[in-house]
Symmetry: C2
Subunit: 390 residues, 2 copies
């Protein structure tokens, strides 16, 4: 299996971009990635592009050739990958496979979402399409409602309180406050979270990630290409795992676990020949505070039922043993759906190479994991990143 | 590069299915494919699922885990591929890559579209999202309009008339009339085509494919898996090529050629170590009559400017040297967008193995090509299929 190297990464600021189209957002992200990689755009063999709601947000499907047209070339294989909020992570994973297969030497993996241009109820309706329309949405389910159910099931089984969950939001806002790419710069406290209106009991407004515009991109290359082009990428993707679960919660055996992410992590660790003990930090899919708890257990950073205690004890803060979501996470950095999985790669790469404003929290870090989930973790993609030569 | 074998194929009838959801349509297609393949659904490593307009037609994005949930297993990698009308062909190509890479032994590739449940103007609006929203659709462009421009450019450059184009529709209806899976069973003549209302000059209603519901599926396996499972697939995918072009027509140098499909064909033929001379029949993307002309030239079955003469002379009919669209094509078999590229694989496999009602037209056939295009051929996927041991 060939190694896959990250030659360059780029992303827009996450937040409100009322005056910019989706194609403009992605152009910024990929321009930065190409610039930093020193790979000419014309060298791209394959493009995997994550986007979730372009058809409803901008009336634009078929976005891959839009991007391909910008970078030129008809030999390019370009396609959109859609797996709801895991679209970006799956795009990364397909890029990894293309390079490993030997069929590609240069892959552009990217993601973009434009969401704030719609009215909030239209965005909420678009987001709901990531759940089961027939058995969940038409019965009145919303995503906050679904994660509220998961939170109820977890707290009921394993103990813990909404105060514990609140600490996750507080931590991620603190991390975002020193990340200029993040949507939110404000530091909050536990009382802010608890006093916020309930959205779907037990979750309140501050347990949920915001609606965000943004884009991310990464240029992946084979070792052979890197050598012939004189590139010296500092980070490799050494593990790439994916998993799937039934779309509807009613089909699941256990609402306190996320087997799609467990399967993805197992594959990724096996490929990288590591265990969770080797991880220096993690970027995980905290679309709601409870989602971060589930993610850390799926990643085997904590035993089942114990990640809630870790939140209470502050073990995952920037000063903790394995900092989680140093970027600010979906909660505070923002969650432009199709971009998120790629953004995690961008943030983790910068943290590993010391190019991130929060890199001082993990100065010795050489191994990181990213965890991206779709819907109520019906799809999941996990990647292990390692510093080259570390 | 490992060979990729087609273990089984299945498809629904194409047409109006007012009482069936998309998931029901695909369940029929994949059940048939699994049954014919003798591969247990639980063996699937990867699922690539082509769908274009689920978000607007059924309020359902994130469809891959719906399908994955039906066949079980959390180790499955499942994702939706969206490249407009080439979604299915790209799904097939990703399945081929996954098996070639050695990372998968069994791939389920499929596609589904439900279209007739919307009002026609809503379907037309959804289809328009495959073109450039900013520079084409908002300027009043429609797909019939875009292909009308391509037809004008071609006929102006190379000669030929709408009578010649009409013969393509007549041929494809004739082929569909003996294919029970096809949407249309009626035989038409040139006068019918010419007397039909003009939709976008020079193209009339009968130059265009219909709006269709349907699904298709194929189970692809590695030679190692086939051997260990005691399977003896009769057809292999020996070439898989893809290409991309600028999304908007205004960015193209030449409206009489489709370089995305030319690049795809070149790659596919090179992998299969064949030339177009070796082809016994072709299934091509005739969303409009002019599209079949462009396809045959991109596939190098005819020189540029000559496929229109072939239509006039009837060279591509079932009795011709290289029959084209024996299935009835998009024109008369129907065009459920995300399913089309997979359906071409289904039809070609059945034609090669003698399991198709029109197989008597090509009794000695051992090599076939499929050509699937997205938008105005901004994306294209070409596959070469060969009888195993032929």
């Amino acid at each position: 299996m060939r190694d896959v190297l990250i030659a360059g990464v780029g992303a827009t600021d996450f937040g409100d971009h009322p005056d910019r189209t989706g194609r403009e957002l992605f152009a910024e992200a990929r321009s930065l990635a190409f610039e930093r990689s020193a790979v000419p755009p014309g060298e791209v063999d394959v493009l995997y592009y994550g986007n979730f709601m372009g058809a409803t947000a901008e009336g634009q499907s078929h976005q891959a050739p839009l991007v391909a047209g910008d970078i030129g070339g008809t030999n390019l294989e370009a396609m959109r990958i859609e797996n709801a909020c895991a679209s970006g992570g799956y795009a990364v994973a397909e890029g990894v496979r293309a390079i490993r297969s030997g069929e590609a030497d240069v892959a552009l993996v990217g993601g973009m979402e434009r969401m704030t241009n719609l009215e909030t109820d239209a965005t909420t309706a678009s987001l709901a399409r990531a759940a089961d329309e027939l058995y969940e949405i038409s019965a009145g389910m919303t995503f906050p409602g679904a994660y509220g159910l998961l939170a109820d099931a977890y707290l009921d089984r394993h103990g813990g309180t909404i105060d514990d969950l609140a600490r996750i939001a507080v931590k991620n806002h603190a991390n975002a406050s020193t990340n200029p790419k993040a949507q939110y710069g404000d530091v909050i406290d536990v009382d802010d979270v608890l006093e916020a209106p309930r959205v779907a009991s037990p979750l309140g407004l501050y347990d949920a990630c915001p609606i965000t515009d943004g884009a991310g991109a990464a240029v992946l290359v084979s070792p052979e290409y890197a050598e012939s082009a004189g590139l010296e990428p500092e980070v490799a993707i050494t593990g790439s795992g994916r998993g799937t679960d039934a779309l509807a919660l009613q089909e699941r055996d256990d609402l306190t676990r996320t087997p799609a992410a467990e399967a993805a992590a197992e594959t990724a660790y096996e490929q990288a020949a590591i265990t969770s003990v080797d991880l220096d930090f993690a970027e995980v899919h905290d679309c709601f505070t409870i989602a971060e708890v589930l993610a850390l257990e799926a990643l085997d950073l904590y035993e089942h039922g114990e990640a809630i205690d870790a939140a209470r004890k502050g073990e995952t803060t920037r000063d903790g043993h394995v900092p989680v979501n140093l970027s600010g996470g979906l909660k505070a950095k923002g969650h432009p759906v199709g971009a998120t999985g790629v953004s995690q790669l961008v943030e983790a790469t910068k943290l590993l190479t010391g190019a991130h404003p929060n890199a001082d929290a993990v100065p010795e870090a050489s191994t990181a994991v990213t965890h991206n989930a779709g819907g109520t973790v019906a799809t999941a993609a996990v990647h292990v990143l390692e510093e080259v030569g570390a």
